[in-house]
Amino acid sequence: MRHRISVVALTAMVGVFLLFGGTALAGDTIKLGVAGPHSGDLASYGIPTVHAAELVVKDINAKGGVLGKKVELLVEDDVCKPEVATNTATKLVGEGVNVVLGHICSGATKAALGIYKEAKIVVMSPSATNPSLTQSGEYPNFFRTIASDDAQAKLEVDFALNTLKVKKIAVLHDKGDYGKGLAEYAKKFLEAAGPDKAEVVLFEGITPGAVDYSAIVQKIKRKGAEAVIFGGYHPEASKIVTQMRKKKMKTIFISDDGVKDDTFIKVAKKYAEGVYATGPKDVSKNPLAIKAREEHKKAYGSDPGAFYDNAYAAALALLNAIQKAGSTDYDAIVKALRTNLVDTPLGKIKFDKRGDAIGVGFAMYQVKDGKYVEVK
């Protein structure tokens, strides 16, 4: 009997030790967590971020690290699923991470943020565009190097109404988190512009992955829409555009940065010509962006993928903030992020109170001769 009690006591002691021991041990390196989808069908949105982080960290460590310590990468997969994201977050927190670069999808980010918030860890996403992430005030520890959906929708609507001067607009989305959110903002802005300026003739969600979109295309035609604003990703966009053009419809197609992807042009080919899409401001002239691109080509033998520049910028911003803050203290890092300008591939940026980057914006692109060209 006495023996059993001692076992229990020992167990409890070890337990307590493990409970509090984890965080106390982390001190000899700066730990940068990277979370996002690294497997599954959305992997192509997550892996470029890992590459960006690897390159930035290699660079900084070569220069002596941050605050005299080496930076260590902790890469974890969240498959873009909220429930897996909480597993990932607890894993990273348990491993004593100092700052996190990620997550990629808005839903997964929201699910994980609570855990980081409690653990007082700053999170910076290169790609989560859901407006409430910064606008709700629920996530003081969240920052991002990408503009939010509403900014993007505003740009699309302004462009359609003021530059293209179209009036009858069909707003479509793919029923997804990203696409539908964007489409709703677009609708809101269109309605705000007043009935004499703009008319939403159609607002509908299409079924992603369907084999044929002719019914919705006919509907667009019947409603007499002059332009389509589409919220969603390129596979659906290319199917709709292709079917519209095959039916000899000249309806203008405006979409988002889920479509501003070279795959879209590759798939839709000649039908992609003339399609508008918003995307992060063209940074091809920025020296840091050129450098980041070259590094990637050298290290991985290919062009970087989605959100690479944003991720590169976020990694730089995070590590710079730690350096400027002089410690890994949460409040100090947040303050540093808000006050210090940092040079990134996206330009010189700092962050506003809500966590959005100042100086990062969207621009409108158009497909011309099989390439996305910025519309001035």
């Binding site: 192509s44 079924t207 019914a215 199917k239």
Partner: protein, 300 residues
């Protein structure tokens, strides 16, 4: 009226596409009562094989019709091979096992093939060239119907006819029907049941491959995940028509296609799938064995 016609044709296209996949589903089900979850993946493999062959031959500068023929043939050969192998590896050892075990095995095969293609090829969407030339006589009607669509209708109808003839009038077809009725009895009267089942998988997979090539060239893009979504829809269509019945599979597919098309056209595509599924539930409540399925009451 034009609008109606357009929606009708759109529904016909969708329905024919579902039918090409549903036919294989229903054949396999008819023989071994297995919901072959991996059937959609066989279709995907067909499309990928065709794309690879097309790319290689295009680089060699072959003529378009030859490419089309060879790619289709290759898709059929390899899809059949995959269907055959999947049956031998994952379903045959499970004959006589509890009814749900082969279903789980099929889910495993489906997941395996998806990830196999993802790893061996790519997760990205790949452009699929449109192989079917524009027919001259269709030019006046271009806004309404395109040559690819016509080819899809024709091939679907032809496949249905060929399969029906195969099953009704050949010796093998007779053996298939016997196996479907009562496997043990068929074995007793000298039907080589293993061979019949293998053959069913091969024919079903070949149909799926044909669908793969046609659908991919209609849509213009493929990735490793297209099989799953199409497979579920085709499965629904097959059940709607009465699973196990070939004309039922085609009819069910067309009904599903039209339902979706008209619902989208006249009401809203937001609830397109909700409506499609509700329609399925309604039909099954009033006709528990599908539109053309035989009422399968237990012999008491």
């Amino acid at each position: 009226m034009d609008y109606f016609l357009e929606l009708f044709l759109g529904g016909l296209t969708r329905g024919s596409i579902y039918a090409l996949i549903a036919l294989g589903y229903t054949m396999v089900y008819g023989i071994i009562e297995l919901i072959n979850f991996a059937h959609g993946e066989i279709y995907m493999i067909g499309a990928f094989t065709a794309l690879i062959v097309i790319s290689v031959l295009t680089m060699l500068g072959w003529n378009q019709l030859a490419i089309l023929a060879i790619a289709t043939l290759a898709a059929i050969v390899w899809s059949s091979a995959y269907g055959f192998t999947a049956e031998k590896v994952a379903y045959k050892p499970l004959r006589g096992a509890p009814r749900l075990s082969p279903l789980i095995s099929a889910i495993g095969v489906s997941l395996f093939l998806q990830n196999y293609v993802l790893l061996a090829q790519t997760s990205d969407f790949l452009p699929f060239p449109n192989l079917i030339p524009d027919f001259k006589f269709l030019e006046p009607y271009e806004g309404i119907v395109r040559s690819t669509e016509i080819v899809i209708y024709v091939v679907t109808a032809a496949v249905l006819v060929i399969l029906t003839v195969l099953i009704k009038f050949t010796k093998l077809g007779k053996a298939m029907r016997a196996t479907a009725q009562d496997r043990d009895m068929a074995m007793l009267v000298g039907v080589n049941v293993d061979r019949v089942i293998s053959f069913t998988f091969i024919v079903g997979s070949a149909t799926a491959a044909l669908g793969g090539v046609l659908i991919a060239s209609h849509i213009g893009q493929i990735n490793f995940y297209i099989g799953f979504i199409a497979g579920i829809k085709a499965f629904v269509a097959a059940v709607l028509g009465g699973i196990g019945s070939m004309p039922g599979a085609v009819l069910g597919s067309l009904v599903l296609g039209w339902t979706e098309s008209f619902f989208t056209g006249y009401i809203s595509s937001d609830y397109e799938d909700v409506f499609a599924f509700l329609f399925l539930v309604l039909i099954l409540i009033f006709r528990p064995s599908g539109i053309l399925g035989r009422a399968n009451t237990d012999k008491v």
